[in-house]
């Protein structure tokens, strides 16, 4: 009996939590089908009076969404792959290579997480100008192909891999690099996928950076399109939310595809603590 109550409360909590999480999304979707007049109606209608795709049509016509999409895809892919490569190498050094000054470097790099990114936009604009990279796609990915956040996360997982494994491999004549690629990387696949996922999300949603670093529509990315639906008199809610609903779809799909690897990961590989 007691067990049943426990199970019941468990489900109740999970379901309630899920509902709370979903309400804003439901609202976003519902609003994206409304007209502006209906948006202003109070009390608001829960479902749109007329279910049609007019807002979506307008949004697709008004923005070069295809170009934006391919730019976003390219930038996000490079950023994600770049981050994975640089983080794997760096996290290895921070967890397995012992040398003087390592912790100092780690702390210095960690400090990059403590400065608000808003502050770094203008200095980076100047740097990218000097490198002649303003208004190129390179400006959108190059500064982001390394992330201390990712290095830090990966280091935590690398530290969790028993050192005995390393010495055993060494004794077998395995090089550091080979050990890293053949042993550590496969063992931390869930963490790597988590990093990839987080990086994809950040990169996909970044608004201010591409807005400032690039001038021409042919090099802009998806979130920049949001600006088209904001006016001096407030946002065009219905259009903006339609656009926002479109652009999250790819990320949700990627998440659903990737998340099962996160969860499977280590349980399968069967290493012991």
């Amino acid at each position: 009996m007691k067990n049943k109550i426990l199970v019941f409360t468990k489900y109740l909590i999970i379901i309630l939590g899920a509902l709370v999480t979903l309400v804003p999304f439901f609202w976003m979707l519902s609003t994206s089908f409304k007209t502006l007049g209906e948006v202003y109606q109070m009390p608001p209608s829960v479902l749109p009076n007329n279910f049609n795709f007019d807002n979506y049509k307008v949004v697709i016509e008004k923005t070069p969404i295809n170009t934006y999409f391919f730019n976003s895809l390219l930038v996000t892919t490079i950023v994600t792959l770049g981050t994975l490569i640089t983080s794997i190498l760096a996290a290895f050094a921070f967890s397995r290579v012992q040398f003087k000054g390592r912790d100092i470097i780690f702390t210095i790099l960690l400090s990059t997480m403590m400065v608000p990114s808003e502050l770094l936009i203008t200095p980076n604009f100047v740097i990218l100008s000097k490198l002649n990279l303003i208004n190129t796609l390179t400006a959108l990915y190059l500064p982001w192909i390394s992330s201390m956040f990712a290095i830090f996360l990966l280091r935590q997982y690398f530290l969790g891999i028993p050192e005995e494994l390393y010495y055993a491999a060494k004794a077998d004549g395995c090089s550091d690099f080979k050990y890293l690629i053949k042993v550590m990387v496969p063992l931390t696949k869930p963490a790597l996928i988590t990093i990839a996922l987080l990086k994809i999300i950040y990169s996909w949603n970044e608004f201010l950076w591409p807005m400032i670093m690039v001038s021409t529509p042919d090099k802009r990315t998806l979130p920049v399109g949001l600006a088209y639906f904001m006016t001096e008199a407030g946002p065009n809610y219905h259009l903006l939310l339609a656009y926002a609903s479109i652009i999250i779809v790819p990320v949700i799909v990627i998440y659903i595809l990737l998340q099962r690897y996160i969860i499977q990961g280590i349980t399968r590989s069967g290493i012991k603590g």
């Binding site: 502006l36 109070m42 604009f125 000097k130 088209y228 008199a233």
Partner: protein, 441 residues
């Protein structure tokens, strides 16, 4: 051995990462064009940064295309750089990196920094030049309140580009039902607000950020928020106090309110919760769309008058940076002149959300005919003679921001009007002084 391979691999990765950066960068190359097979003249390319999107942006691009077509040897690349916030941030970066565009849209209180640092081009030599100058007839036809706002030390550094004004929005049916005529003075406004406040509705609504755009009430009270001579804010002066007493008095009485979480008057007005509201003409399209569905019958009128009649005009100016070549600057000047040509300003006035920039454009029969279909621009035109714009002092934003805080404090009852205005005056003065230190000469 394996270590060597590792090292090589790492280096290779590095190189490939850096190597990615060698994208082809778009450089502006002037094309040579031959005219009649003899004269070789170069096409001057220049950049124009703006913050207009949607229909206004489309219209601007159309007029720029027309300009490019008419001027064989000039090509203007107009770039939408996001909203004012992003545009100004980008200009800041560009100023440091020395990559400013030739012309830009800009608020005058933002341009001040560039004028102080000798980055803005004095337009005087262009305006009054006997050859390339602007036709004096057109020049004198630009409303003074708009034209002379872009002046620093008696020199023109910017000229009006996209302009609208603050307006009074009202619910036609509600006023008729209460047997009220459209208010034209403060007293009438207060009375109307009182009569209309019933059944849980509040007669008058202001944007949540009413304190930011508060200056028109002050000007109407006969005061100013800034002393242009002494370059100091005058938030604790008599006129400001009268204006705050008027507005916060109505709010405390419960016959006026700020839009709160709706932020803009559109929400309460379109739902019929409030019947008179004040906002800039940029609210017109939303009001139109929102009320079409809720069935509220609305109209706009000129701002009411207090001791004085005064109308705040908003929108940006166009300014030129002196970092471009003389050819580019000359070409940009051609565009500025083009902007005030009657047919152009007329089209701009009819097809964008803004008004024509010359009296000839505003009084043109075509524009009159347009106003009959869409009367929403009539009050803005009617107010042109009493037009003024907000002060240009460096960090003028500090004045507005602190006035907003003061308004919130008074309404919340945290401070009295005198206390709140005094604090605002102190903070604004300090913050404006603070800004100057960043542009020492």
């Amino acid at each position: 051995m394996k270590r060597v391979v590792t090292i090589i691999l790492c280096v290779f990765m590095m190189v490939s990462l850096i190597g990615c950066s060698n994208d082809t960068n778009e450089t502006v190359v002037g094309e040579n064009q031959e005219v009649n097979g003899e004269e070789v003249k170069e096409v001057v390319e220049l950049e124009f940064w703006h913050a207009l999107s949607g229909e206004n942006g489309d219209m601007l691009q159309k007029l720029i295309d027309q300009f490019n077509d008419e001027n064989q040897f000039i090509h203007i690349n107009a770039y939408y750089q996001g909203h004012y916030r992003e545009l100004f941030e980008k200009l800041n970066g560009a100023a440091q990196a020395n990559t400013l565009p030739t012309i830009t849209m800009i608020y005058n209180n933002r341009l001040t920094a560039y004028v102080m640092n000798d980055l803005a081009e004095d337009l005087g030599p262009y305006i009054y030049d006997s050859e390339k100058g602007i036709d004096p007839k057109i020049w004198n036809d630009i409303p003074l309140g708009l034209r002379n706002d872009g002046m620093w030390d008696g020199k023109h550094y910017s000229l009006p580009f996209n302009k609208g004004s603050y307006l009074m929005f009202y619910n036609v049916d509600a006023l008729e039902a209460a047997d009220l005529k459209v208010p034209t003075t403060w007293e009438e406004l207060e009375n109307a607000a009182r009569v209309l406040s019933k059944d849980g509705n509040t007669g008058l609504v202001l944007n949540q950020s009413a304190g930011i755009d508060f200056s028109f009430w002050v000007e109407q009270a006969g005061g100013h928020i800034y002393d242009e001579e002494l370059e100091i804010p005058t938030i604790d002066s008599e006129g400001v106090k009268i204006a705050y007493e008027f507005i916060t008095g109505m709010i405390k009485e419960g016959i006026a309110h700020l839009a709160g979480e709706d932020n803009y008057i559109t929400g309460p007005m379109s739902r019929g919760e409030s019947f008179i509201g004040f906002a800039s003409s940029s609210n017109l399209p939303r009001m139109e769309e929102a009320c079409r569905e809720t069935g509220v019958n609305w109209a706009v009128a000129e701002l009411v008058r207090g001791k004085e009649k005064a109308a705040l005009f908003s929108g940006t100016d166009i300014a030129m940076f002196n970092t471009s070549t003389q050819e580019q600057k000359d070409a940009a000047w051609e565009f500025i002149k083009f902007w005030y040509r009657t047919d152009i300003t007329l089209e701009w006035g009819m097809k964008s959300g803004y008004i024509p920039l010359t009296y000839e454009g505003a009084n043109h029969p075509e524009f009159k005919a347009y106003l009959e279909n869409d009367p929403s621009k009539i009050p803005a035109i009617g107010q042109l003679s009493v037009a003024y714009q907000d002060p240009n002092g460096l960090n003028g934003y500090a004045i507005h921001s602190n006035m907003q805080t003061a308004l919130e404090e008074i309404i919340a009852g945290v401070k009295t009007i005198d206390e709140a205005l005094q604090t605002a005056q102190e903070n604004a003065t300090r913050e404006m002084e603070e800004a100057k230190k960043n542009f020492a000469q």
